[in-house]
């Protein structure tokens, strides 16, 4: 079989970002099976619209498609689960903490084990979770996150601020409950 040039070009440019795409899908779907399906669907979708790829940041381009495919999946999940969560995801400015964190609290966060971190991140609303995953696990800049999530730069800033604040509160709540 003659391999099409398109496929080879696609695999050369887009396939290197399969790791980033899978990681984002895995965090948004929260399970292996659906992450697998979503990534396969997204990559086929990306291939079909590859003629619209105009060079530039291939990682951001394919992450955008993975992200949108994840949101379609999430929306279907919400439709099947009768009650979806109504997390407060407003983009207001971050609240001021009542008390400064103590040294043991900072240490607890620093040394939190993998399971605790994973539960805390999985519990975030998807809009905050994706911003945090793209920033902290994939190392994207605010500009790149804005492109992938199709939101203004300022919204990236407020979502990340709130993601961090939610995560820290969740971890410290576990500390008070005696985890770790």
């Amino acid at each position: 079989m003659q391999e099409s040039e398109d496929v080879q070009r696609f695999e050369r440019i887009v396939m290197p970002h399969l790791g980033a795409g899978y990681n984002l899908a895995r965090w948004l779907t929260r399970n292996d099976h659906d992450a697998n399906d979503v990534v396969q669907e997204a990559y086929l979708r990306a291939f079909r619209s590859f003629d619209r790829y105009r060079g530039g940041d291939a990682r951001a381009w394919v992450l955008t498609i993975v992200r949108n495919t994840c949101y379609t999946w999430l929306r279907q999940q919400r439709a099947t689960e009768s009650a979806h969560t109504t997390d407060n995801v407003d983009d207001g400015v971050a609240e001021i903490p009542a008390d400064p964190a103590t040294e043991p609290e900072v240490q607890f966060i620093r040394n939190a084990d993998r399971q605790l971190l994973r539960e805390a991140l999985e519990a975030l609303p998807p809009e905050f979770r994706e911003a945090f995953v793209l920033r902290e696990l994939e190392g994207l800049s605010y500009k790149e996150i804005a492109d992938v999530a199709n939101i203004p730069l300022g919204t990236v800033m407020s979502r990340l601020a709130r993601a961090r604040s939610h995560l820290q509160h969740a971890l410290l709540r576990r500390m008070k409950e005696g985890a770790g």
Partner: protein, 251 residues
């Protein structure tokens, strides 16, 4: 002088080195004096250190790349149109993503506090790198035509350098679900954002001060337009700026 109320919303962006140098220096000065904000920054550092665990990045399962390799080759052939390998059919993605986003945007508090909150958020965001102005110039004759075609009304734009409010530029922002004009001024080292949109009535209203989360907001109505000036400068400075806007030569 930065306060905690000014620092907290920016701290995460400061931590990510996404603020401009001026704001970063102000925050550093505040951090030297404020234990609460300094420990909040330490929490961000600790969070990053914790999540740097490599095992929190999920690697693609063995075989995924090979399955894609096969699927792509099949998709490249014309009969691929009839091949539907996945559990669910394709749906119009852009529309559903937009629906999710608008659902997110719809979760909001109501009333004037909500507008104040949006205005303060927009002001805070404007302090980020590359976000302050879309058109950067002190020339009012450049800013004014720039708004044409971007919004459906003509905001008054004037440079008040002689009165201590040099014009920095303009941008379009979204407040309360509509596109609004933002005319940006400097007052000493501070930024003043003046938000302008049609008020829906011709009644003029004298300036009223609203304080919100440590910021001053001054609201007035004139010639069918609503104005909100937002800044961390003092209320008297904002009132001087409002008076300049009331002068008849502005158009």
């Amino acid at each position: 002088m930065m306060t905690c109320a000014h620092t907290q919303p920016l701290l995460s962006a400061y931590f990510d080195r996404e603020l401009d140098i001026g704001k970063s220096l102000e925050i550093e000065a505040h951090l030297r004096e404020c234990v609460r904000c300094a420990t909040a920054l330490q929490q961000h550092e600790a969070t990053r250190a914790a999540f740097a665990t490599p095992s929190l990045v999920f690697a693609p399962p063995a075989g995924l790349e090979r399955r894609l390799h096969t699927a792509l080759r099949r998709a490249a052939k014309p009969k691929a149109r009839f091949f539907m390998p996945w559990r669910w059919a394709a749906v119009p993605l852009a529309a559903t993503a937009a629906a999710v986003l608008s659902w997110v945007a719809a979760v909001h508090t109501s009333g004037r506090d909500a507008v104040s909150s949006e205005l303060v958020s927009s002001h805070v965001r404007s302090l980020m790198v590359d976000h302050l102005v879309d058109v950067a110039t002190s020339d009012q004759h450049t800013v004014k035509p720039w708004f044409n075609g971007k919004i459906d009304f003509a905001p008054p734009v004037a440079d008040f350098t002689a009165d201590g409010f040099p014009l920095v530029g303009g941008r379009v922002d979204y407040i309360a679900g509509r596109a609004v004009a933002v005319v940006v001024y400097k007052r000493r080292q501070h930024i003043v954002n003046v938000f302008i949109w049609p008020s829906g009535s011709d009644a003029d209203q004298a300036p009223q001060t609203v304080a919100f989360q440590g910021y001053h907001l001054l609201r007035w109505q004139r010639s069918g337009l609503t104005f909100w000036a937002v800044s961390d400068v003092n209320a008297a400075d904002l009132e001087s700026l409002a008076r300049l806007f009331q002068e008849p030569q502005i158009s």
